[in-house]
Symmetry: C2
DNA sequence: GTAAGGCATCTGGATATCCGAATGATAGCC
DNA sequence: GGCTATCATTCGGATATCCAGATGCCTTAC
């Protein structure tokens, strides 16, 4: 193969981040997906994707305690799924990264094809 | 955010399906992401993406008890992330859905941009 | 200066998930 | 038939995550 082709190949291999080979990297990636693995956080994500929302609006929308919603929002911001803009007493949350919508769309698409399996998957302990 | 990013975001969000409006659908989607939220399952996913693997190969690769690995593989199959082909005593696992690679690539890409935040996000209880 | 509102953090209890080990079920080999 | 290998399921314990409520800090209004 030509030198340029080899360079293109290695560039392509480096561009796509696969599942990390080191345990720490995998733990990090798993943490990221767990951030998406809560229905309340998904609802907040969708809510803040429509338009910018204050913390209190999120509390009302989620119907949970203020402290819990604040922690959920902090988790989403920390993981890069949400951006926060602070102005005075208020904190405005919004989804800005288009990859979030892609992730959610892909997940929803796969769930649509395997709804029964996902519902049945108990990961270990199912019916009490 | 830039105009092009905003356009990409709204285009992706408008593409069906978004985050489900009903709580049951959100719980299902959250369950799906939790299936991706375990480092062992991510490692198995990457292992079975390279080529078809038997259950025992997965046990050796994961370095966990056979029963636990079997449960992890069952979870991945149930959620549509992995496909299983049974032949005699053996079960052959493989990643066939290209959306899995897209999901993992997107997640890894976002983690690469927010590694410190993801590591710091404890979702409730952090350092012991 | 004082009071009130918005947000983040801490505490303790309930639930979910992960783990190894043991057990059960089925297929291939002697 | 009997035996072993492969895979699935169950059991009890340890850890992580979620929740409501209370507390503290900062900003705005009076």
């Amino acid at each position: 193969m030509s030198a340029s082709a080899a360079a293109a190949l290695s560039a392509a291999m480096a561009r796509i981040p696969p599942v990390p080979a080191d345990p720490a990297g995998r733990e990090l990636l798993a943490r990221f997906y767990r951030a998406l693995g809560d229905p309340t956080r998904l609802a907040l994500l969708a809510f803040c994707a429509e338009s910018e929302r204050t913390g209190n609006e999120c509390v009302v929308h989620a119907g949970l305690s203020q402290g819990r919603v604040s922690a959920h929002l902090g988790c989403l911001v920390s993981c890069g799924l949400l951006e926060v803009r602070r102005a005075g007493r208020f904190a405005y949350y919004q989804v800005t990264d288009p990859r979030v919508a892609e992730l959610v769309g892909l997940g929803a698409s796969m769930v649509a094809d395997h709804a029964a399996g996902v519902a049945a998957c108990a990961r270990v302990a199912s019916a009490p």
